[in-house]
Amino acid sequence: MADPYIIYIPQDSAACSVGANEVAEVIVQNARSAGIDVKIIRTGSRGAYWLEPLVEIEANGKRLGYGPVTTANVAALFESRFYEGGENALCIGIVDEHPFFARQERLTFARCGIIDPLDLDAYRRHGGLKGLEKAATMTSEAIVEEMIESGLRGRGGAGFPAGIKWKTALAQSSDQKFICANADEGDSGTFADRMIMEGDPFALIEGMIIAGFATGAEHGLIYLRSEYPAALRIMTNAITAFEDVGLLGENIADSGRAFSIELRRGAGAYICGEETSMLESLEGKRGEVRVKPPIPAIKGLFGKPTIVNNVLTLAAVPFILAEGATAYRNYGMGRSRGTQPFQLAGNIKRGGLVEKAFGVTLRELIEEFGGGSFTGRPLRAVQVGGPLGAYLTADELDLPMDYEAFVDAGAMLGHGGVVVFDDSVDMARQAEFSMTFCAEESCGKCTPCRIGAVRGAETISKIRNGENIAANVALLTDLCEIMTDGSLCAMGGLTPMPVLSALEKFPEDFDIPDARKRATP
């Protein structure tokens, strides 16, 4: 009997949010009634969300894509014998050669969307575990050295050199140390952590084990937000899969070292993405931020030395160990080394994940990859780096994606989220939202954030209503200064960034009291 036709369909939750499960069901039904032997492999998403559900088949060793597929056009796909690579209006050709993918540099996301996320053999065939096996033969000091050499900086937003953090934790003598993966991806406009956890969870686990080897930590925790139930399911199974073959537990890969991982759910608090608040939450407490110093690498979870790294930071580690620090640091610009999974979101035609070396410009991302606004209207503002990131204007798109270039422009790269707004946006309303969001999500520990955000929202509301605009703008600017200088953590400290950037760059939206009455598309 001939081999079945293999059909790849994503099970990524965003792909399923536009019908991937239903499409898979109808494909199976059609195949059955036509007597065609097919094997469905559910993968993660490649990240071209505008093409989802993206169905792929294998022909002559290449993956051919069809998308976006709806249940309504499955019958036509079968008529054109898509399972053999037949021509159809939905065919996008060889997926790797499609313009959206061909120019990407996928190091961290090399396997995402390509393999069954829980197939350990497929993971190994696609380069997985090479990093871990290499690390198993190295001393902790040598692993840390490799990490420093790679230039990898924390992908959660702060951009602190990961190797230095690891070195600090390694230098502590303690009976216990921890590795915490921060999977509390709360920034609007970001979904890369979710994608990797749903599409290539082994990469995160492998990175955590290597971090354990490097620092002497034997226990890891993943703090996973409750808004990601699918990621929780897949991560749970992925940990079990590693345990079953002895890749978690005692004497991993004959290294004589032990490591275990526990999953913990968040509970809907944005602030718990802040590392010290996350540690409190992992201890079962209210997610109130801690005063730093001491830094977690010295005194973290339960007072023990703790590495807190973002999911993307840890998922980048296996590549660095497998291919060497130089291979990684050869990508990028200035002090921003390697690649960043950028996320194109909001009002954008071709939204999704673009992994590219640092140095790509915002314009290339938004125009060449993203294809401009979804509505087709002119782009007016872009918020980079989540709810605490600055708003940029259409004139600032030539800015290179680089930590320092962004700081110089009064902005921040954050977790790599790019949210596009068209010309219907009311920037005074956006500024008010930033303050409202901060008031809603503040942990309440420090006054500038707890009270400042409430007063900030009130003041912007007054400005929008045309009350004493000049005086209230002065008051708002003053308040922002206090929040920036006086808050304990980035939540209160950075909320002024979107507020002030909106105020400075879009003053017309603050002067016209009825600006909010602008027509929405």
Binding site: G189, S226, G284, A345, P387
Partner: protein, 159 residues
């Protein structure tokens, strides 16, 4: 056995499944809410005793996190993302429309709940019904998702 002692026993069992570790409090609260639909007030002293915490500690945690509710919801929950990426795709207009006439499931009006980011920012506006993510959300596909959940429950599958 009355209902209250059942709840007490069940709460104790959920604690012991986590070895009564105080750091597992949030996990246990999730477990309670999954079973009961909310965190009944009566569970607070039981949790405190079982985990060796004060009642204030437990109440403090249960009230800090947005996920935990202290009363059963009035209807099936529709989580609607109101983050910036979804704002750029008109979630505020959708929210207004949903609040004026909430979609129903089995004749019960749904409860529209605000969340900030569901990780579906390239396919906004995003919503979630029973853990199922909805992209390019509108009244129709939210209604469909609610109906599907109701059907699944009727068939005895997990909701």
């Amino acid at each position: 056995m009355n209902a209250e002692s059942d709840l007490t026993e069940r709460t104790r069992a959920l604690c012991r499944a986590q070895a009564s570790r105080p750091d597992a409090l949030i996990e246990i609260l999730h477990d309670i809410q999954e079973e009961a639909g909310f965190i009944p007030r009566e569970t607070i002293p039981v949790l405190a005793e079982e985990l060796n915490l004060s009642r204030a500690d437990v109440h403090g945690v249960a009230s800090f996190y947005h996920d935990f509710r202290d009363a059963p919801p009035d209807g099936p929950i529709v989580k609607l993302c109101r983050g910036e990426a979804c704002q750029a795709m008109g979630c505020d207009t959708l929210a207004e429309a949903l609040e004026i006439s909430p979609p129903e499931s089995d004749g019960v009006k749904s409860v529209i709940e605000t969340v900030y980011c569901l990780g579906n920012c390239a396919l906004g506006p995003a919503a979630m019904v029973s853990g199922q993510l909805i992209g390019r959300a509108n009244k129709e596909n939210i209604s469909d998702a609610l109906n599907k959940t109701a059907t699944r429950k009727l068939n005895g599958a997990n909701g």
